[in-house]
Symmetry: C2
Subunit: 297 residues, 2 copies
Amino acid sequence: MKVYLDCFPCFMRQALDAARMATDDTTVQRQVLDRVAKTLPTVPLESTPIDMGQIVHRIVREVTGIADPYARVKEESNDLGLKLYPTLKAQVQRSRDPLLTALKIAGAGNIIDFGPKMTVDANDSIEQIVNDSFAQVLHQVIDPAQYHSFQDKLVEVNNILYLGDNAGEIVCDKLLIEELVQHGKKVIFVTRGAPTINDITLADAHYVGLDRVASVMTNGSDAPGTRLSDCSPEFTQAFQSAGLIISKGQGNFEGLSDVPAPIFFLFKVKCPVIARETRAEIGAVVLREQVMEEAAK
Amino acid sequence: MKVYLDCFPCFMRQALDAARMATDDTTVQRQVLDRVAKTLPTVPLESTPIDMGQIVHRIVREVTGIADPYARVKEESNDLGLKLYPTLKAQVQRSRDPLLTALKIAGAGNIIDFGPKMTVDANDSIEQIVNDSFAQVLHQVIDPAQYHSFQDKLVEVNNILYLGDNAGEIVCDKLLIEELVQHGKKVIFVTRGAPTINDITLADAHYVGLDRVASVMTNGSDAPGTRLSDCSPEFTQAFQSAGLIISKGQGNFEGLSDVPAPIFFLFKVKCPVIARETRAEIGAVVLREQVMEEAAK
């Protein structure tokens, strides 16, 4: 999908959020904003939001000198996920349709995303936001037609490429992957190639023990989503040969929404631009099969 | 008050909102964003938010060629205000403390502000937002100590300088001014010198008949607030000799919060930066006397 003009102010806000994660020095924060402001006019409107996101978060890392501004936040999110894991696992196991419940939980976990505005203050901790998101899981409606297509597709394939998104959320991904493994599938789980926002890297996959249920690889890119043109040959090969791809989160959707491939997108709608693009409401968990004809246009 | 770094993304958003008011041409909208993005790095951190606002909205007018992007919105807001006037007037007249009720209504009317994010769509019309704001009027708490200071001050003075803010809201200002006139005061009502966002100009004052209850003058400036250094000598003279100044809205507060003058600020808190600055909650109506010692620092 292409960038909207609404993304321009949003990237200034993202840059400020990330700069504040990296440093308390307001002079440096201002330098980040200035560099981003000077760069925005050079971004072609044919870009995707994650093309812009990659540039913006590289600026943040370069100007602040902090390679991973969200390191602490990612660790906290992973720890929170691991703390919730037993409860969520039990919820999946005792449900009438464990696969559907696991899908919903993996979707709800996508709330842990520091790209879109995610205010975390005393009244509104990550834990509270996550608990609220999970509290709605059982009431969350996944489009039944999409779910049936997903089930049909599952029967056809043995191998699944699973594109992860954020720290913390990765524990929910693990739950879903465990269900897929129960169904006899082999899963390759893909992380970003380097830190960007609170997106997962190999380190997070190992931290939460995802490597014990799936093969794990990176996509070789530091974009906050999947930009195929920026990914490693190894990932590109895995992507092109995949019979089923599960793509988590807005960032992967932004990069792949126009790519003809056997993808099911699974994400929580968190910004007005994505709500417009997907015709879903903010807060909704969306499971959506790639429409191959449209994507190929 | 000085600009916060949070104002930088917000001004990109304001520029986009205003550009969209002025034109449907996304190429022109993009040109506005690019010009604003290039200008932001030149803004000194000692600026006030309305220094930036003035620059940003001049860019919008210049790039789009539209002298008054909010003309239609202002007319609609004024018409809405005039439609509500009889009900609000009756509410003031039958209340136990008409002055306090008029103050609350004038504060609640400050919701009609297109500077801070004010989404107006099918579900959330100006009328709905305004009705919601007025519905809370009677439950709105004005700090009693501040109100008593205001009453004390009123006894001392015969002439009041009243700095208006937005279209639509101006009808609520008229209600409050009618109360002040009832108390035997003479009021000079001040508008902006030229259109900026949905702020009032002389035309609005005449449109709602404010000139029938008060003298009306402009401040000679196109800043979306009172920037004394940018105002006309006539206004500056009136400001310096005023025994009591009622200053409506965030923009006037942003420009005058550090100016030692006998000001009572009256506004609805509409953005996180002003909430932080005033230690009030978003949505609160604030009546606040200028603390002369602090302002003089």
